[in-house]
């Protein structure tokens, strides 16, 4: 469960303070599929960084599974990311010149999982996102965009995180492959009960979620449940 209480992020630019986020409060229960929407500059990236424990808020509190994350040190944040959060990025961020399998196993390396179990766990995650076995030993830069993003989703899944954070996961994909990727998220949410937060500026992508939070100028302007598009 995620709870954000009056989160603000303030950047000091000379004399004036700039509020990237202003008094953001919401709760996300386990098993939700939430889309955070907003135009560029609305503060949705800043929010994602805080939710993903990459950054801490200037004011307010952020609880992840009941633990206060807002006051942790860099290394403690790294531990939170390692055990509780899976990231999917717009530009995939796979290791080039490394096999698909090695990319998916990478979080397990930092988590200190034994070598023998890594492969088994990684294979399970890859099957869950619909990758075929003959892709496992391809180099990551030899795959198509859609396949690449599914490898990235498998990597986000492999540590069994409490939360999967996807930052514009379809931004670099054409409509059709984007749809396949977004349906992969939907399937993970519906079938495995994964909590997913999707950051996007596209209405069509957001429609696949169960709840949409709109942000503008660092504030929530709208937060409502919607009918999930299938």
């Amino acid at each position: 469960m995620i709870e954000s209480k009056n989160i603000s992020k303030i950047y000091k630019t000379g004399e004036t303070d700039f509020f990237a986020l202003k008094n953001i409060s919401f709760k996300i229960e386990d098993g939700e599929f939430v889309a955070i929407m907003g135009p560029s500059g609305s503060g949705k990236s800043t929010l994602m960084h805080i939710l993903g424990a990459l950054d801490t808020p200037s004011e307010g509190k952020y609880f992840l599974d009941g633990q206060d994350v807002s006051t942790l040190s860099d290394d403690e944040l790294a531990d939170i990311r390692k055990s509780k959060i899976g990231f999917v990025f717009q530009v995939f961020n796979l290791l080039p010149r490394a096999t698909v399998l090695r990319n998916v196993m990478l979080p397990l390396v930092y988590a200190g999982v034994e070598k023998e179990t890594r492969k088994k766990v990684a294979e399970k995650a890859m099957f869950a996102v619909g990758l075929e076995e003959d892709h496992f030993y391809h180099l990551s830069n030899q795959l198509s965009g859609g396949q690449t993003q599914r490898v990235a989703i498998a990597r986000a899944l492999v540590n069994e995180p409490s939360l999967i954070l996807a930052d514009e996961p379809t931004g670099n994909l054409d409509t059709k492959t984007g749809e396949i990727v977004i349906q992969t998220f939907q399937k993970l949410n519906l079938e495995q009960g994964k909590t997913i937060i999707l950051i996007t500026h596209e209405q069509e992508v957001a429609q696949y979620a169960k709840r949409i939070i709109h942000i503008r100028d660092g504030q929530i302007i709208d937060d409502k449940k919607t009918e999930m598009k299938k």
Partner: protein
């Protein structure tokens, strides 16, 4: 992160940029190889100088005329130039000091030698039969000077192999032939065995004649140029040296030992002065090679910094999925140290084989010592640590958000 994983990451990072990695390693290879080669040449030279000195004769004490300086005058005519030692000094040493195996005075000078139209210029040493004992001389053919020769002031000569080569050609037995020293005819009665060693003080390039003959026909006076004393063993050398000094001071009526008109030197002094020269030489050579190692180290640092910049996004991703600072730090640090370690290993092999080839083909005597190998290995690893530290630290301190956004 486990050690095995770090090495796997290092291997994949270095092998994905093979050309760049190997060029960077090359800098270290050249540095380490030149350290090994130059130090081994220095130590080889040191070793051959030492064996040269030892071949002259162990337990040897050389008494030479010293600076002659009267009371109140500051004018010095230079060490060894004074005429202060006579044959009687040598006789006194032989009769009054115990623990002596042999004493041999000598009168030496350089003269022009001619034989059958060939000529050479070399050292002619007027000496006594005991000289062969004192200086470990052996006879190849014929015989060395005899007491009879001394008493009669015979015009006979024993020549060294280099002199033989110059005057008569190699592998010729010169015994029975005649040579002219300073236009005076001498009959050759012996040839010394080759001792090896080259340059200054080589006993292969010498002619020995009776000391009485040298004083009468060549130098024209009663002085000697040095007195060689062989002590019975190495331990008693310094005691004998002290006794000789005391005896001669008394004999020459000199109360203040700093005003002595002679000086004594033993094998150990010679060895230590030669060793200090070659040690300085070795250090100098090592320092020159060390500079190239530092340049190689800067190459490593340059490559690592480029690599950190290129892989900023990768560092961001690793941090996002839970890598801590120390994980990133260790990863880049291991890369740098592996590069220098590998370069060091290759460099040692290369330096070793070059030293071996130099020695094998008699170009130079080079001896690789374990200490220089350990030194080179230590230095190359230290360079990896020093020049890898900063880039690794820089990588580990990148902010994950900025790193992920980096284009």
């Amino acid at each position: 992160m486990k050690i095995g994983d770090i090495f796997e990451e290092t291997y994949s990072a270095l092998s994905s940029n093979k050309i760049r990695s190997s060029l960077t390693i090359l800098g270290i290879v050249i540095g380490i190889a030149s350290v090994i080669i130059l130090i081994s040449i220095g130590q080889g030279a040191s070793g051959s100088i030492q064996s040269n000195i030892e071949s002259i004769g162990s337990n040897l004490i050389i008494v030479s005329p010293g600076v002659q300086r009267g009371a109140g005058t500051m004018v010095s005519s230079g060490r060894g130039s004074a005429k202060s030692l006579k044959l009687t000094d040598a006789e006194a040493i032989a009769s009054e000091i115990s623990g002596i195996k042999a004493v041999a005075a000598e009168v030496s000078g350089r003269y022009q030698i001619t034989a059958k139209g060939q000529n050479t210029n070399t050292t002619v040493d007027g000496t006594v039969p005991d000289y062969a004992t004192v200086r470990n001389l052996e006879i190849e053919s014929g015989s060395f000077l005899s007491q009879q020769n001394i008493e009669n002031a015979s015009k006979v000569a024993v020549i060294g192999p280099s002199v033989r080569d110059d005057l008569f050609g190699e592998d010729v037995d010169p015994v029975g032939q005649t040579i002219k020293i300073n236009k005076i005819q001498f009959k050759i009665i012996g040839l010394t065995k080759e001792k090896g060693g080259a340059g200054f003080g080589s006993q292969d390039d010498m002619i020995f004649i009776p000391i009485s003959t040298a004083q009468r026909f060549l130098s024209g006076n009663e002085y000697v140029t040095s007195i060689n004393v062989a002590a019975v063993d190495a331990e008693s050398t310094s005691i004998v040296q002290q006794e000789i000094t005391d005896l001669l001071l008394e004999k020459h009526n000199i109360a203040d030992s700093t005003l002595a008109d002679f000086s004594t030197m033993n094998q150990a002094d010679l060895l230590s002065s030669a060793t200090s020269i070659t040690d300085t030489l070795t250090m100098l050579l090592g320092a020159v090679a060390g500079i190239s190692l530092v340049v190689g180290g800067i190459g490593i640092m340059n490559m690592m910094l480029t690599s950190v910049t290129e892989r900023t996004k990768e560092i961001g991703l690793r941090k996002a999925i839970g890598a801590k600072r120390k994980d990133i730090n260790l990863q880049f640090f291991t890369e740098a140290v592996s590069l220098t370690f590998l370069g060091g290993a290759i460099g040692i092999l290369m330096g070793w084989s070059v030293a071996f080839i130099l020695t094998y083909f008699n170009i130079l005597t080079a001896s690789v010592s374990l200490s220089s190998v350990l030194l080179a290995f230590g230095v190359s690893t230290a360079i990896g640590i020093i020049f890898g530290y900063y880039p690794a630290r820089r990588a580990s301190q990148l902010n994950p958000i900025d790193a992920l956004r980096y284009e």
